[in-house]
């Protein structure tokens, strides 16, 4: 009882604890390395990587909202090549799972990034962000259509030699449908949710507060929505689900685990409290101790309905 077992399995991948940092909120890991011991984390999901480097959207890119924030970073990233050469070697030196978040603007681009990560050591899994605009189909996100979601998934799986996690968008009528389509396409796991689309207006200048007009809403504000979607998806699929959305403390994390998420990701909370992920791991440990729970696995999916 003194040391509860926090390990969880996400399909073929084992994590030392269920707490990951979410893509885009933790840079390439190094940015937080002088503040916290990264080796204590369940894993790090790096900023979304595309085939070519991307500069991202013009500023302003972020705006605070009630208990949340909107971002329109525009998937700025160093690109696959620089990632492999400049960022990954440092990450490989860590003793934690490294998950590479990827995206593309065409199905083929997704496949190409996955291919580029094939054979590379020190990567525990690929997380596929399907919330990006599908340029071939007029900009509506891949992740809002079950068929396109499945296509992207298949294409990545074909090229990847690592477990494939598909990250779902919450901006859909029926997330269960998308989840099932992605599961059928062979994904090893699902993570959800990405940000809700939102907007804010500067009433003095009468312009959108974000140069990009709209952005993605994250933070505690969206937690109830994300939790409900996790609850729905867990009921719809058999593959493991990773919960994301507005988690700031261990109690929030427990809500997702109890709902059936096998791991969780911490996003916006990293900005508010750079130690949030470690505080959550510690909180889960204490919760298990106080409630005489030997393994965190025994908490997962214990929601009574």
């Amino acid at each position: 009882m003194v040391h509860p077992d926090l390990r969880v399995k996400i399909g073929p991948m084992e994590l030392k604890n269920p707490v990951l940092t979410a893509s885009g909120t933790f840079g390439y890991g190094k940015e937080f390395s002088s503040l916290i011991d990264l080796d204590l984390l369940g894993g790090i999901v790096v900023k979304g990587i595309s085939l070519k480097p991307r500069e991202g959207n013009p500023p302003p890119r972020i705006v605070e909202t009630p208990c949340g924030m909107l971002n329109a970073i525009g998937l700025a990233n160093v690109g696959l090549e620089s990632f492999l050469n400049e960022k990954l070697p440092w990450l490989q030196g860590l003793n934690t799972a490294v998950i590479v978040n990827i995206y593309g603007h065409t199905v083929e681009e997704y496949g190409a990034v996955a291919a580029g990560l094939s054979g590379v050591k020190g990567i525990s899994a690929i997380e596929v962000n399907i919330s990006c605009p599908n340029v071939e189909q007029g900009g509506m996100a891949f992740g809002t259509d079950p068929d396109m979601s499945a296509k992207v998934t298949e294409c990545v799986i074909k090229e990847a030699d690592k477990p494939v996690i598909v990250k779902l968008s919450p901006n859909v009528t029926d997330i269960g449908k998308i989840a099932v389509a992605v599961e059928s396409a062979g994904a090893d796991a699902l993570s959800l949710t990405n940000t809700l689309t939102g907007m804010a207006i500067d009433i003095e200048k009468r312009v959108p507060k974000l140069a990009n007009i709209s952005g993605g809403l994250s933070g505690p504000a969206i937690r109830p929505v994300a939790l409900f979607m996790v609850h729905q998806v867990v009921k719809s699929v058999k593959i493991p689900v990773i919960g994301i959305g507005g988690i700031v403390d261990y109690r929030d994390a427990l809500e997702f685990l109890i709902a059936g998420a096998r791991a969780i990701q911490i996003g916006t909370a990293n900005f508010v409290n750079p130690k949030a992920s470690l505080d959550i791991i510690e909180g889960l440990r204490m919760f298990c101790q106080e409630n005489r729970i030997g393994r965190i696995e025994d908490v997962i999916g214990t929601l009574k309905i």
């Binding site: 503040l35 991202g56 208990c67």
Partner: protein, 263 residues
């Protein structure tokens, strides 16, 4: 760089809507350089959510981090109610800081409003009398040029928009006069911080000219660590990559590094 709850030693009003905050953090004091900033978590709840960035205005007695701030919105309204003895979570020091003036250069510090904060810190680290300090304010009651904030013994040239103190007009006009007085022998080097419009004025006098100039800029920030890419700012158009990140590449930039047309 650290993140910790720090005791508030004082938090006092020093001018209209302007407060001076002393936070106990020996570790930040040990690392802090002029031009760097900290991010404070205001309030304990989740609203307002994000930390607020503030320049380090100085350090004192090996353990006090000093901040000068103006109450402009929700976060700073909460801050100004916090009292000595309570604590705030501080993250810092962040950013790159000023490149210190070299021998033979004549520093001119140009501040607009709260832009004075990092320049007070800078002034405290360079030889008294070796530089000029120009400070613009909206009106006389906003002037913070007091002993209290560490400006004793410094000769400030002041301008106010409404003429209620010092020169009536913009601080950039003071700078213009000052620059006009230089001959070829001495290299003026300008350190500027203030509202964007003011910095544009400073840039117009210095960019791509013989006058070296470093400006300290602001941007909306989420992480302060270079992780979120939220604080992008346009580089000058000659450069290959379009954006700097103010929190990491700045907040201090060489005036020639930025695309002033599109800021």
């Amino acid at each position: 760089m650290i993140e910790q709850d720090s005791e508030i030693v004082f938090n006092k009003r020093v001018a209209a809507d302007t407060f001076f905050l002393g936070l106990r953090s020996p570790r930040i004091v040990a690392e802090a350089k002029p031009g760097q900033f900290v991010m404070l978590r205001v309030g304990r709840g989740m609203d307002p959510l994000l930390r607020r960035p503030f320049s380090i205005c100085g350090v004192r007695d090996d353990d006090l981090v000093l901040i000068l701030y103006r109450v402009v919105g929700r976060g700073t309204t909460i801050m100004c109610d916090v009292r000595g003895g309570e604590s705030l979570s501080v993250l810092g020091p962040l950013g790159s800081g000023f490149e210190m003036p070299h021998k033979g250069e004549k520093p001119i510090l140009v501040a607009g409003g709260m832009g004075i904060a990092p320049l007070i810190f800078l002034a405290s680290t360079i030889e008294p009398g070796s530089f000029r300090f120009l400070a613009g304010f909206g009106s006389g009651e906003e002037i913070v040029a007091t002993d209290e904030v560490g400006l004793s013994g410094i000769d400030l040239s002041i301008s106010t928009d409404d003429g209620s103190a010092g020169h009536r007009g913009l601080v950039t006009e003071l700078l213009e006069n000052r620059l006009a007085g230089f001959n070829g022998n001495i290299n003026p080097v300008v350190f500027a911080c203030g509202p964007l419009e003011m910095l544009k004025g400073v840039a117009a006098m210095t960019a791509n000219k013989d006058v070296q100039c470093q400006v300290s800029l602001e941007a909306s920030m989420a992480c302060g660590l270079g992780a979120c890419q939220g604080c992008a700012i346009r580089r000058s158009s000659e450069q290959a990559i379009a954006y700097y990140h103010v929190c990491q590449d700045g907040p201090v930039f060489d005036v020639n590094a930025l695309d002033w047309e599109r800021l």
